[in-house]
Amino acid sequence: MTRALATLAIAIVLAGCAAQPVQPWEKRLLAQRAMRMDGGNALERDFARQVETSREAARGGEGVGGGGCGCN
């Protein structure tokens, strides 16, 4: 079931099915720092990831080639 959901979710993001493409002048709200996919604060994000990976077995989904550490 999770696999089907995942496939569906990817399909929605990939599909070219937007009703009306968003024009440059309509992107003011999208350009805010808070709307960035990386959250806008590298230090905050990295610390949260470090706390999570030191206590949990899952990781990934946010970039590549991060240095490992003995905490996991």
């Binding site: 993001v13 960035r36 604060n41 706390v51 899952a58 991060g66």
Partner: protein, 370 residues
């Protein structure tokens, strides 16, 4: 003949400097101003019957735009761990009794070249601890569609780690990991952006925990993660809802679901309050065995009693306050609480006989943009 709106608008959009700078952003942000960030993070963990473990982590972030279309980004962190090493099972008390007092220094540097509708970044990370060294490199490229409503991200990375445990169990053991990521971000509406990405990692080498009496893990690990994000902007500038989900599985038999929710709400004087909630649930590794230690151990077969590989659920609740002062400075304070319990696992039972883990973090950050 009636040539109507499109040619007029197209000609108007070709005029220089009339689209507001902020509007030129697509799914990913082009290089902006330079930035310096300082952050102090403090982590404290409690477990019944165990000594508390404490981590302090001061970190520095610098982003420098160079020439017209380059940025160099650097990050330096120093974390000091003190207190006992984490003890998960009360029956394990004493078995991993080496007190931890370790310092980790890490440095990340990334250089990014921005093109008209693409970017290319190269980065390296170095991390040094008493017993664990890691060197990593990465390359990430992004490509925007002509209307900048879609961005494709492709990345590859390689990490070369060396383990020399202070108790002499692991002597110059190596672990190498290769990972790759493909992602697509899309502008859905003038206030919604979504991203889907998949990461694959293949690692081989030494995975055991040298500080545990019995810990034999497979010599390789394949991981997959699917992450989905959705960011929504409200009418009020600065008010944003962020939702993220990650599905993870690996060759050790672990499947995990993580959901993140954050709502950023600005108040009158521009200070921002951001409550957030995270839920994580995972199944146990195939070779994880419930306590007491030694149960199920077969010589030559993988075995671990590491609670990190057990089945459990965890919740993080956090609140962040962001206060700008002047037009260039921004400070933030964040408090979060983490709790892990075997009973909180979703889609199945948690591992029995685990003690709950609680942690509290406090962060204070300062950012200067120039």
């Amino acid at each position: 003949m009636q040539l109507t709106r499109p040619p007029l608008l197209a000609a108007a959009l070709a005029l220089p400097g009339i689209v507001l700078p902020a509007s030129e952003a697509g799914a990913e942000r082009p290089p902006g101003a330079g930035e310096v960030g300082l952050r102090y993070s403090h982590y404290q963990e409690y477990q019944p019957g165990a000594e508390r473990i404490e981590v302090v982590l001061p970190a520095l972030f610098v982003l420098v735009p160079v020439a017209e279309d380059w940025t160099i980004q650097g990050q330096l962190a120093l974390d000091s761990v003190s207190g006992a090493s984490p003890l998960y099972h009360d029956t394990l008390s004493g078995a991993s009794g080496i007190g931890v007092d370790d310092v980790r220094r890490s440095l990340d540097v990334d250089a990014t070249r921005y093109f008209d509708r693409a970017s290319l970044a190269f980065g390296a990370s170095v991390s040094r601890e008493d017993d664990y060294d890691s060197d990593a490199v990465r390359a990430v490229a992004t490509f925007d569609s002509a209307d900048r409503n879609r961005t494709i991200t492709v990345g590859v990375g390689y990490s070369d780690d060396t383990i020399d445990s202070v108790n002499g169990v692991a002597e110059h053991e190596a672990r190498n990991t290769t990972d790759a990521q493909v992602g697509v971000a899309r502008v859905l509406t003038s206030r919604d952006v979504a991203q889907a990405s998949v990461t694959f990692a293949h690692g081989s080498g030494y995975y055991d925990d040298p500080y545990k009496v019995l810990d034999r893990r497979p010599g390789s690990r394949d991981e997959r993660a699917l992450s989905l994000r959705w960011n929504h902007a409200y009418d009020t500038p600065g008010e944003v809802l962020r939702v993220a989900y990650r599905l993870f599985d690996d060759s050790w038999g672990i499947t995990a679901h993580s959901v993140d929710l954050a709502w950023r709400h600005p108040f009158a004087n521009d200070f921002v309050v951001e409550p957030s909630l995270r839920y994580h649930s995972q199944s146990a590794a195939d070779f994880y065995f419930d306590p007491p230690v030694g149960t199920g151990f077969v010589p030559g077969e993988p075995y671990s009693a590491d609670a990190r590989l057990s089945a459990f659920g965890a919740v993080t609740a956090a609140i962040k306050l962001e206060v700008p002062f002047g037009s260039r400075w921004r400070s933030d304070f964040k408090l979060s609480f983490y709790r892990q319990k075997s009973a909180w696992r979703a889609f199945g039972d948690g591992s029995p006989d685990l003690l709950p883990v609680s942690a509290r973090t406090f962060e204070i950050g300062l950012t200067y943009e120039y």
